[in-house]
Symmetry: C2
Subunit: 218 residues, 2 copies
Amino acid sequence: MERKRADIIADQLEGLIFDGTFADGERLDEVQLAKRFSVSRTPVREALLRLTQSGLVEQLPRRGVFVRQPGPVELIEMFEVMAELEAICARLAASRITDDALRDLHETNARCNAAVEAQDSDGHFRENERFHAILYRQSGNSFLQQECLRLHHRLQPFRRVQLRLRGRMKQSMAEHKAIEVALEDGDGETAASVMRAHVAVQGEKFHHLMASLKPAAE
Amino acid sequence: MERKRADIIADQLEGLIFDGTFADGERLDEVQLAKRFSVSRTPVREALLRLTQSGLVEQLPRRGVFVRQPGPVELIEMFEVMAELEAICARLAASRITDDALRDLHETNARCNAAVEAQDSDGHFRENERFHAILYRQSGNSFLQQECLRLHHRLQPFRRVQLRLRGRMKQSMAEHKAIEVALEDGDGETAASVMRAHVAVQGEKFHHLMASLKPAAE
DNA sequence: GTCAATATTATTGTATACAAAAGAAACCAT
DNA sequence: ATGGTTTCTTTTGTATACAATAATATTGAC
């Protein structure tokens, strides 16, 4: 159950930004949003403040808040950090993961594979999320886990795109398997380097995809 | 120049939490703060919302906001993440750092050493900050840089303590030197591992210090 | 006709007023 | 006296009113 209206509005606004209803650079008018959600400006302002902290919008003093989608460079940077963070999780998890979690990881990968075979995109997405979430948790560092979840969530809209590329899903699953094996062996360095590449390639694929769509950019 | 009153208040409140004026678990009353800063509740609430996002306070719905200092476990976790993040910066910087920045780093270390010799605690602190800031920047990833600055800032009140330990400053300087050399050699892995230990030890020292002060804890 | 200065409008930032919910206190019953 | 219930108070969350500033439009001068 959600807490206050402001939080609900923040989540809804986030969704509207993620799905492109509010385009990059667009100004978010407080009174319009207030009318849209049938509330006063106060909870809308709180929601916008939260989005500002999340980095989804930018707030120019006395001018308003504007949607701020990361550009190509920033996106590559964010994926690079995500890759490093997940590599850390993998390395730490190699020595800290529980047997239960290892089993869970194995089963999750199995379900993920099955979803790929069945062309079940949503299923694959769900199990893929679970795979990564398990590793965040098994880093044994809940602060690291929180940071990973935060950045993961922020990159989510960009993450789905690259998975549609031909052959990417199967390669991705092979990487998952390699990470699983490395963790079973307690080989932190291997787990880290495979994971780093696994995540970093997502950013690169996305970048290439963008570049092919907008050849004139930059 | 600061933007709105709410931001100024947020910064001031942060300082008051850092210096212990507001103790852990203490409730921050909106009307009291409003009177203290001679404003209405509105900017106070905005400031508190910002601190909530930063993690300095916790907001229980319909109950109020409470100062939330990290406990021993969380602090160790945060230092572990900081160590890993800085290790990443060092590794990336090894291949990306500019000659100018290398010179700057060298001079900063020299000034830092001089400050240690002169027992200039503030000077050492300042140059030490600069050393780390240079590496954040030379990671060549401004998103990573921002994340490092954020966590660094959050850990600042706990960082100063361990430096007062006997012999720690000299050892710290030796580590700085080792990192500098590794960067000159373009040896990313060495730079990363030295940096990781350099930062991680801060958390451990702090932990030991706390444990020695409160032997009954946990 | 164009540029600039001023007036008008619109929008953000802050203050206050109101509503709802949680906590405290008083009252009653056993 | 103690436990529970109910009222009252305190405090958060929301709505509205006001103030200040930036954007826009209008008007006047050249």
